[in-house]
Symmetry: C2
Subunit: 378 residues, 2 copies
């Protein structure tokens, strides 16, 4: 078949007509999922039901194969559409503890505290936000509290907790700090009732809790706060239970190391002062992403990262060990010892095991998505 320029315009018109149908279809679908969301919030079903999601995708992948359409394309589109409906379909959630008289969120006007205040309210709890100026009325505020959540910056968490020594005996005391041992010990000391530590593994910019992780470190009287864990699950999040010590050890690897290295990388770039624009224009998708991972740090609150790096007792020791590894590797480059570099590379690869291959696959998928958004003007 030969296509002439006039039929090119015709083809484009037909494509536009299909794209218009797509938008109509999305509008209809959003109406239906809003009704599903309404039903779920009435009966307290989680918005995210893995089996339904898997089933829905399997059916459409099958149909795609039959129609000669890429099943990967269909799955990617459906996942994106479902993300939208998870984030918009629920304005309210079932309340798992309707008897509860009051929730007090200390520091509830802060970035992360605000999210919990919002979620509690949307689940029908009476919520009271307590800020610094409210401490003069503390006795009144805490009098009939069934849950007190501490959502203040790390450095003042323990001193704030120490002041919470007159809560009702059956009140659940919980914190959401990014370290867990110290706050948990402080809570167990201050309060005689139920205690647990939470670490929400997401930033204040999430648009819903669907598929997010909330780390749980048990403190005291687990059975007294099961309703809270169930509430978090109804919001769509995944609850991961771990020992407080193990949590803190893991965080040195996860948070401290990465933030510190990104900081040093940024300091190094700023010190050497290369042409940043040129670096970006010469970068492949993977380097652009890696550079962005460093750059993004410096658009955020320095005090928060200072707290995370400086306030973990394991930081200095682990960073020193990292530096030793750096110097050992540098000696290989100085000595032009490629053989030993390759030997160690393979050894590290076997430590990572299947994870490295999976990472390669996952990151490729993600890089393709990053490419979607590129335009020539960059």
């Amino acid at each position: 078949m030969t296509v002439s320029p006039s039929t090119l315009d015709e083809l484009r018109l037909k494509i536009d007509a299909l794209d218009s149908q797509l938008v109509e279809l999305l509008a209809q679908r959003a109406k239906l999922t809003a009704q599903v969301g309404q039903y779920k919030s009435q009966v307290g079903l989680p918005i995210y039901v893995p089996e339904r999601e898997a089933q829905l995708i399997t059916k459409r992948r099958q149909q795609a194969l039959e129609r000669g359409v890429s099943p990967v394309l269909v799955e990617d589109l459906l996942r994106r559409i479902m993300r939208e409906s998870y984030h918009t379909q629920n304005v309210t959630y079932l309340c798992t503890n309707p008897e509860l008289k009051k929730i007090v969120v200390v520091g509830g006007a802060g970035a992360l505290g605000r999210i919990f205040v919002d979620m509690f309210k949307r689940s029908g709890y009476p919520v009271c936000v307590m800020e610094q100026r409210d401490w003069t009325n503390a006795t009144e505020i805490f009098k009939d509290a069934g849950l007190v959540m501490v959502a203040v910056p790390i450095k003042i968490t323990e001193s704030i907790i120490a002041k919470l020594d007159h809560l009702p005996a059956d009140c659940v005391l919980v914190d959401i700090t990014s370290t867990k041992q110290k706050p948990l010990n402080a809570m167990l000391k201050a309060h005689i009732g139920p205690v647990l530590g939470l670490h929400p593994m997401f930033g204040p910019d999430v648009s819903s809790l669907v598929k997010q992780v909330v780390v749980v470190c048990h403190g005291r009287d687990e059975d007294k706060y099961q309703w809270l864990l169930q509430q978090i699950r109804i919001w769509g999040a995944m609850v991961q239970v771990v020992d407080a010590q193990e949590h803190d050890d893991a965080m040195v690897f996860i948070q401290v190391m990465r933030h510190f290295c990104s900081f040093v990388f940024g300091a190094h770039l700023a010190g050497e002062n290369p042409n940043l624009k040129q670096l970006i224009s010469l970068s492949s998708p993977i380097y652009r992403l890696e550079l962005a991972m460093v750059g993004r740090l410096f658009a955020q609150d320095p005090a928060l990262y200072a707290d995370i790096i400086f306030d973990n007792q394991g930081s200095v020791s682990l960073l020193s060990k990292f530096n030793q590894q750096f110097l050992k590797a540098l000696a290989l480059v100085e000595g032009n010892n490629k053989g030993e570099f390759i030997k160690q590379f393979l050894k590290i690869g076997s430590w990572f095991g299947d994870y490295s291959k999976q990472s390669l696959i996952d990151s490729k998928k993600l890089l393709l998505k990053a490419d979607d958004d590129r335009t020539w003007s960059e």
Copy 2:
């Protein structure tokens, strides 16, 4: 409105029907874009036309707003659909130099060489792949070559180029090594005709060249290889011209630094031996991505990364400077000097300028996409 369980099933059936329509719509759209692709390959139009893409998206975003659908959702879906059509619509490309008698790709069986062999063939060029065993027939092979591309590992690039000293005078000699100064000098010395250096900024796993970057370092007789640059543009890639020295300096920052740091990070993890599975399960999306960026390195060819790190003359000096920055920052943590850390953090942030904010926005978008693919089973 109250929704009962039976209507929940009904709602789900209606959603399934819409999703089925979506697949049909994609099948129809693919047929149309295949015809567009066919037309473009006949007349030599690039598959990726930024203006058409921008226009198409603008119209649908507008419609989305009118219909109460998220314009961001619509744009994401359309970009994903267009990626698919870019990657599948073109099986052949217009040939910008049909007079050319032969292209020889030295090392054309290698990962990256294979991509160029494929693209040249799909553009109608007679292509000859030359491997080690073929050197005995070199005179015969190179006799009527109009383009010779060197696509061999870095460490043998210069010695291979030195052997190419009897090419036809009008033959274009080009390499695709990830360093540019040395290969370019070697080519200018070996060959009296047109010479240029390319650095394709993508891995061997790309499914098309659309929106990829190809760095160009001019060597000699630019006008004699304009057809090649035009050919690369027709494949959908973006050509970035840069001086060879500037290119190599930039690559120390872009490639050497990142790979080396990822290597050290991996060595450090393997040495400390934390529970990797637990680290991942406790990670937020951003940490998961950062960990994946380290892990993916070790699923790849160690010799390639050894060459990239060891064969760049600037590596040791720049890595040593990085280490000094690391020690300076570590001293701040040891001395508990948060004030100075915050001061430096802000200074680095202003060096990054708008880029850091943009990175934060871009990476947030990407992290949301990463979340789409998560399931509870992880």
